[in-house]
Symmetry: C2
Subunit: 352 residues, 2 copies
Amino acid sequence: MKQRLDKAGVRFRPHFKTHQSWKIAEIFSQEGIRQITVSSVTMAHYFARQGWKDITIAFPLNLREMDSILMLPEDVTVGLLISDSSTASYSFPKSLLKKSVFWIELDTGHHRSGFSVADFHILTWVIDKLCSTGAHLQGFLFHDGHTYNATGIEEIREIRYNTLSRLSLLREFLSEKYPGRNFLFSGGDTPSCSQELPMEGIDEMRPGNFVFYDLQQLALGSCQPEDIALSVLCPVVASYPDQGRAVIYGGSIHLSKDKLTVGKETIYGVVCSEEKQSDMRLTFPGDLPFLTALSQEHGVIQGTAEQILNLVPGSLARVIPVHSCLVVSNMKQLVSADGTVFETLNLHSVDF
Amino acid sequence: MKQRLDKAGVRFRPHFKTHQSWKIAEIFSQEGIRQITVSSVTMAHYFARQGWKDITIAFPLNLREMDSILMLPEDVTVGLLISDSSTASYSFPKSLLKKSVFWIELDTGHHRSGFSVADFHILTWVIDKLCSTGAHLQGFLFHDGHTYNATGIEEIREIRYNTLSRLSLLREFLSEKYPGRNFLFSGGDTPSCSQELPMEGIDEMRPGNFVFYDLQQLALGSCQPEDIALSVLCPVVASYPDQGRAVIYGGSIHLSKDKLTVGKETIYGVVCSEEKQSDMRLTFPGDLPFLTALSQEHGVIQGTAEQILNLVPGSLARVIPVHSCLVVSNMKQLVSADGTVFETLNLHSVDF
């Protein structure tokens, strides 16, 4: 990912919400990454404690967390998102303006949060408002999260082209309205960053999920099966080969309830050994047993009698999840293939 | 719930996975409850530390947690589930047999885990197997979890009648095969316990969700709107009245992704004040704004312009969740209307 962005001349500001681990963050640091993205103030504190100095909180500024933001170490520059006009009108304390840089969030089609990229009138108002308060405005931040609902690479490509053309119109307007003034444009989402797509006019990218990938990204064409680097080892607690069913200790509190439609079936994961992973195909019924139901602690696996016979109570089923970010946020630590333990924020979250 | 079960002469063994709080557990204790249900060994430890002595772990015995079960205090009787023939054949350590009582899990139609209630042949084999090892067999445990997928009270009633008639056949068989021997029957699930349904031949019930209820139970007819005792106060972080949309700091990591279909819409919660709660109706579009999308930290609320105008950034949206158990399992504490703080297992989970 870094090589691709370096080549395009785009700054890489990886989103650390996917791994939430200071030790994995160190690997990024060794690659020369100094700027990062997080999704909460808590996460900003966690990484600030590990020495990260330039942190964008890619979530609409929560006015109720002002005190917590102010408690970030003095030498940390925190990037904050202004996502609606009500928050833009807020009287920010001077101490906040001093330590923060601001981004105006743009809605480029995801329709979750942010100002419409086409509404120049309101955008002008927000820019002027922020600058009049002495805010240090970096530019505009967008997240093309609708790529996650795409049916494949072609649709992801279309979304990128669409966004680029809208941003280009905005940039044209800004250069007339604010001549000589430089606004940065920060984009995100792993699906569009996982393709060789044009990035004209984008200054930085904030993908996160690529660090592990998952079934959702595989289905989108963002990765190959062997790129998926996260699995959950779940104890098998009951096995019914004659019914083609096994039960694991791995429910919605561990795996989350993100799902994927494969054929006509809804799945929550695939049971796959390391050896078979590169041949994994998302077809149903397929060569591998699928996780087809989740309760709070139970996960139900469906497969052929032969597949289920391998899932003996007391053994571990290696489950590849639908959405790796949500799995990690439930875990206290990750263990790599060589046995290295990677603690996550969740282990320490009591402190914040 | 206690009054209803007392009246029916059925032992009340509430499931504590819904609240996971020692202080809420004390309220049950004050009502004379001594026997409880939990869904994990971790939870058994948590409540054992608070002095609970009779704990059923209503989850298939996980052979990999044997050591942790053995570390439960000596004076705690732990109920364990045998849910498949592979686990039934296991050579249990003597120390485990000494401190545990066993339940054979029956599948009465939910098709998640347990032996088919109609398979007398295998059930006989399991009973003999367990008794030959010196296990203290209490009887049979079932969970009619398929009531959660029911379309209403009538279907819940049907499920109960169905289960009772299957259990009656099993009891008949057992009384012939094992004359004079007493087997207990333990049932669960809040929907069927929330109705005035027959309980003939059921010795104990293990409902849990009734302690808070939620939108799922409301939709099933298990409770009235004013019975729902759990809501999540989520900070509003962006508001777009003209688009009928607001964004809260409350995503799938807080609310979980359990959903409900209302009309043709999928919802993850309702925004409702205390004052309006008793009039809450599950119709879409309705009188209240609905939570219609969840990302990791974002929740998207849809409503009329007027409703959204009330959701000002910096204020709190009171969200009634679809599934209260999963919300609590994400929280570290609950706060009651009078300000009392109820810590949950999650706050202490690092210890186990």
